[in-house]
């Protein structure tokens, strides 16, 4: 379009920039969550301190449950599957995977908020019950200001709106239908997470170190993603996933933007590689995994649980959309690379986990290994692959949430006792808690009759059907290695003698108890009777294209 044409159009009666048409109803899950996040900021500003916590907890829970209901209603109306819509000027896709993952993320978020609200585990500070978060985030660790804040019994209720913003971004991320929306969503959910990592009440320095590491590396990854977006725009003349796919597959070019495409393979492949780096960082795949153990260890444990589950769900959602919608035509190029990444991720995650001495770091490495298992399903590039990954993400999230919630219960005078040696004999003193944790570990290990097994079977089966038999064999072998360290923890809990003066298991309030209960129910439910959810995942596994 020449410059004069633009001017002429602008001067004419028809406006050249149409007012964007926004489908508020179909976007309601995200809108509700973002709305609650904004309202949460206002609550921080205007509601008196003593009412703030309850206001925030109820606001968040109501919004999340409301958004989940909206997702269910949309699905019941046939949105997602079979009806697929493109919303907000085609920048957001309302298809099966998006809706399924939004549902999972919202449920995860509900459970997360419950673990945030727990106040019975920490000893009272300044006469007030304390939660897992710093009394005053801005205070210097160990400084006079912090002591004053603790004495005054302050709590950081900001975590609730921060989490709501993160959840909103996560809802958008797997639904984003163009690269820029995807990037915006990535930043919207990443920035609050960086902050949340720094908010641990105990071990403040470790927590802040984790936040800085996560922020620096995360910023790098975002930069990679953005740069990749730019290169791909240079290649395709569009940031829309569908347009890129059309150009890759060599369809006829119709729009002006597409005509300006350079079609340079260098731009295409470099751009794709950079996008992949950004996403692989978020899912914690080798070789972009090194932040995971430090951040998981340093962050407040409820936040770790949230990151380990919801972030993975959102990031894999975007990952799937990118590779299944925009670049299926390039699969001969990216599949070998992802093969290598998946193998490395499974092997490195499993092998390094064996040497860990800290429960949270152990779970971090285990989450790396699981990212590898999920990647085997991604690589299948078929409908089974998609539905198996969706199922795996749902199953894995709740096991992870439950496991981290149990970690918050085992405490000594210095807070959570995360060193493995202090878990010795836990099964003899608190058999119920140990049995629940053992159940989660067995689910991680993929023992039959737990959700972990069903998920693993689904992704491996999809991978084998997609011709990736060697990946399945590597997956099975690294599962065996992984089983070793899960079992080691079980041995420690049940067959070792408890140390005198070891940690005690705190009795949680109904919040954490509910969170753990949900984890147990989902773990057993998806293990024993998975058919309904497999159907759901299978029904949902069609992308908007």
């Amino acid at each position: 379009m020449s410059a004069s044409a633009v001017l002429a159009a602008a001067g004419g009666n028809t406006p050249s920039i149409p007012a964007p048409h926004v489908e508020y109803g179909q976007l309601s899950p995200m809108l509700v969550v973002f709305g609650a996040a904004v309202a949460g900021v206002l609550v921080e500003a205007f509601v008196p301190r003593r009412l703030r916590r309850w206001t925030q907890v109820s606001l968040s829970l109501v919004a999340l449950v409301g958004a989940f209901v909206a997702v269910v209603v949309l699905a019941a109306q046939g949105h997602g599957a079979p009806r697929i819509d493109l919303l907000a000027m085609e920048s957001v896709a309302l298809d099966g995977p998006a809706l399924f993952l939004q549902g999972v993320i919202l449920l995860v978020a509900v459970v997360t908020v419950l673990t945030y609200a727990e106040r019975r585990l920490e000893p009272k500070a300044g006469g007030e019950p304390a939660d897992a978060f710093a009394a005053q985030a801005a205070a210097t660790p160990g400084g006079e200001q912090e002591r004053a804040a603790v004495r005054a019994g302050f709590t950081t209720t900001e975590v609730f709106p921060l989490t709501m913003f993160a959840v909103g971004g996560m809802l958008l991320f797997p639904a984003a239908n163009d690269l820029l929306t995807m990037f915006v969503a990535l930043e919207v959910f990443s920035l609050p997470l960086y902050l949340l990592c720094a908010l641990a009440r105990r071990r403040r320095l470790l927590s802040q170190e984790a936040a800085v590491k996560y922020f620096l590396l995360g910023a790098f990854a975002s930069a990679f993603f953005l740069f990749g977006t730019a290169l791909l725009y240079g290649y395709a003349g569009s940031v829309k996933l569908v347009d890129i796919a059309d150009i890759v597959s060599g369809k006829t070019m119709t729009t002006a933007a597409q005509l300006s495409s350079t079609r340079s393979d260098v731009l295409l492949l470099t751009g794709l590689a950079m996008l992949a780096v950004g996403l692989l960082f978020k899912v914690g795949a080798v070789p972009f995994h090194s932040w995971t153990p430090d951040v998981y260890q340093g962050a407040p444990t409820p936040v770790t649980g949230f990151m380990a589950s919801a972030t993975k769900v959102a990031a894999f959602g975007a990952f799937l959309r990118l590779f299944y919608v925009a670049f299926p035509g390039l699969r001969l190029d990216w599949r070998p690379v992802l093969w290598g990444v998946a193998i490395l991720t499974m092997v490195v995650g499993a092998v390094l986990a064996v040497t860990q001495q800290d429960v949270k770091r152990l779970l971090a490495y285990s989450s790396i290994a699981h990212a590898g298992f999920i990647l085997t399903g991604v690589i299948a590039v078929n409908k089974q692959g998609l539905s198996s990954v969706l199922f795996y993400l749902a199953a894995y999230s709740f096991v992870t949430l439950g496991a981290f919630a149990v970690v918050t219960l085992v405490r000594d005078s210095k807070g959570e006792a995360t060193h493995l040696s202090s878990w010795a004999g836990l099964g003899r003193r608190s058999p119920l808690v140990a049995a629940v944790f053992a159940l989660f570990l067995l689910a991680f290990a993929g023992i039959p009759l737990t959700s972990g097994f069903t998920g693993k079977f689904a992704v491996f089966q999809a991978a084998a059907a997609g011709g990736a038999t060697p990946l399945v064999i590597v997956g099975v072998l690294s599962s065996a290695v992984a089983a070793f360290f899960y079992i080691r923890v079980i041995v420690l809990m049940f067959f070792s003698d408890p140390k005198p003066g070891g940690p005690t298991v705190a009795i949680p309030s109904a919040f954490t108890a509910t969170a753990i209960g949900v984890g147990v129910l989902v773990t057993l439910g998806l293990g024993l009777l998975p058919q309904y959810f497999l159907d759901l995942a299978s029904k949902a596994s069609l992308f908007a294209y």
Partner: protein
């Protein structure tokens, strides 16, 4: 659709939950309630398993009393049960042994004295719940083993084959025998982990093969795990497995079963596990859980991969031969009674696997009978050994001597167990060992001849053990040893009686088993080799 099979599986499963939920056993009376409930459940299970075996018509369909319920439709997985002669007999064996094990372990899970440092005072949850846990776990194992014997869905079998590791693991690691000192706790958890890791690795390799089988079958229009459908399709040629695929899948399945069975050189977990566990748990391992491995070789390896079975049979025979001789030699050298029994079992499992892969009807009938007879005789042997060990508080052979003068009944039953182990004619194991050897000899004479060495070695380890512990001068510490109590006699007497009965009159068992064995063998397209002398042919025919 009869629900007999499901009921037989569900009763012990429900019993496990019930037992675990009974009020905590702070007092002896409470504990006795728990044990009685568990024992009653296992008795009901025995009655049900016997009903299954009685209702099974050996001349009827291959799988009978079949049931099928939809489970995970997406992967073609059903909850399908059905029974053939082999499965019926082995499930019955399980149901017979479990009450015996419970009676024999009556006091094994009573809370011991409080730990000296007070970390485990008598009031702790673990100590109060110990008895419930032990008996619930035994019932859970029973339920899972019976499902495995009845399952006609490959996936269903796999799930329970794997899942039974978890209760077994806690039985081994959580309830060792009291003989060891503080060191034994560490060895016990080592044994439990070794058991779990070996079997888990085997199971995961099998998982890869299960997935591979499903993907190949799905490509050819069989999106199912139903065993009869798959075996018929393989036999009828409508499901084609390429040579490489079949070999790879066979090895995947066989590896898991060979770990479980265990076959040399994958056996090393067994001596640890049996040595450290209570005598009752050791019987569960060797007489019940391990039988699932050999059973599965017959049902799954031969049925699904007939060509590969033929390809690998010679190699497997050599491994089993090594196992027979190696297990027996190591048994001779053991200082620890329970480890001796474990190595003897490795030798016996060599015979069972040899019988299966000789691919003759005599060999396979023999192998199936062997599973039953080994179960009964080893249970008797091991449980009496357990009674002996609990009296003296030591597992070392050197700590015993002259027991027969002090406790003649104990020594006498131990002798019968020993004689059964060395396959004395007239006792049940003789029949099966003879059949296995004859069956192997007709196809592989050399291997059959070498395997007979195993019998000589068995006589050595069994009799040497008897001589060292029971005869000679009465050792210090044995002097005041009480003889078998009524409860212990009630455990041993039926086992001994069955061993003698089946030795003299094995007919009921062979009638039940033979048609299923022939059906299995016909899947492999193997007929018995033509004998060298026509005279032998008629006698062979009569035997069948």
């Amino acid at each position: 659709m009869s629900v007999l099979l499901t009921t037989t599986c569900a009763v012990p499963a429900a019993g496990a939950v019930l037992t675990a939920a009974l009020p905590a056993g702070a007092t002896e009376a409470r504990r006795r309630t728990t044990k009685t409930v568990a024992l009653a459940v296992s008795a009901v299970t025995l009655a049900l398993a016997a009903a299954v075996a009685l209702r099974f018509d050996p001349h009827g369909a291959r799988y009978q009393l079949t049931e099928s319920y939809s489970w995970i439709r997406s992967f073609g997985i059903t909850f399908s049960l059905g029974v053939d002669g082999i499965g019926a007999v082995l499930a019955l064996l399980t149901a017979v042994l479990v009450p015996m094990v419970m009676l024999a372990s009556w006091h094994d899970a009573d809370p011991g004295p409080a730990a000296p440092d007070g970390t485990l005072d008598p009031g702790t949850f673990e100590r109060r719940r110990r008895t419930q846990g032990f008996f619930a776990l035994i019932l859970a194992v029973e339920a899972m083993v019976i499902v495995s014997f009845y399952a006609t869905d490959v996936f269903l079998f796999y799930v329970f084959f794997e899942a039974m590791l978890i209760p077994m693991y806690f039985l081994i690691g959580g309830f060792g025998d009291r003989a060891g000192g503080p060191e034994s706790a560490r060895q016990r958890s080592y044994a439990a982990v070794k058991f779990l890791l070996y079997n888990l690795l085997g199971g995961l390799v099998m998982l890869a093969a299960v997935i591979g089988l499903y993907v190949i079958a799905q490509d050819q229009g069989f999106g199912t795990f139903d065993l009869p459908t798959l075996t018929d399709a393989v036999a009828g040629g409508s499901l084609k497995l390429s040579g490489t695929a079949q070999n790879a899948l066979f090895l995947g399945f066989f590896f898991a079963f060979a770990v479980k069975a265990p076959l040399w050189p994958l056996h090393t977990w067994l001596p640890n596990a049996m040595g450290e566990a209570t005598a009752g748990t050791a019987v569960l391992i060797t007489a019940v859980v391990d039988k699932v491995g050999t059973f599965a070789m017959l049902r799954f390896c031969l049925g699904l991969f007939p060509d590969a079975s033929k390809t690998f049979a010679p190699a497997i025979l050599v491994l089993s031969l090594i196992g027979i001789v190696y297990g027996a030699l190591l048994a001779i050298g053991q200082k620890d009674i329970k480890r001796l029994v474990a190595y003897a079992s490795i030798s016996h499992f060599g015979f069972i696997i040899m019988g299966i892969f000789a691919l003759t009807s005599q060999g396979q009938s023999g192998a199936t009978l062997y599973m039953v007879n080994h179960g009964l005789s080893t249970a008797a042997w091991m449980l009496v050994a357990g009674f002996l060990i609990s009296r003296r508080g030591s597992r070392l052979i050197a700590d015993y001597g002259g027991v027969q003068k002090v406790a003649p009944v104990l020594a006498g039953t131990f002798l019968i167990g020993s004689l059964a182990t060395l396959s004395l004619p007239g006792l049940a194991p003789f029949v099966s060992e003879f059949l296995v050897l004859v069956g192997t000899f007709t196809r592989y004479p050399a291997i059959g001849v070498i395997a007979t060495v195993g019998i000589v070695l068995a006589a050595l380890y069994a009799l040497l053990l008897y001589q060292r512990t029971m005869t000679g001068p009465v050792k210090e510490g044995v002097r005041s040893m009480p003889d078998l109590k009524v409860r212990e006699l009630a455990v041993v007497a039926p086992l001994v009686a069955l061993t003698i009965l089946l030795g003299v009159y094995p007919r009921p068992l062979t009638d039940l088993v033979n048609p299923s064995v022939d059906a299995t063998l016909s899947q492999v397209h193997r007929t018995d080799p033509a004998p060298a002398h026509p005279v032998a042919a008629t006698s062979g025919g009569e035997q069948k």
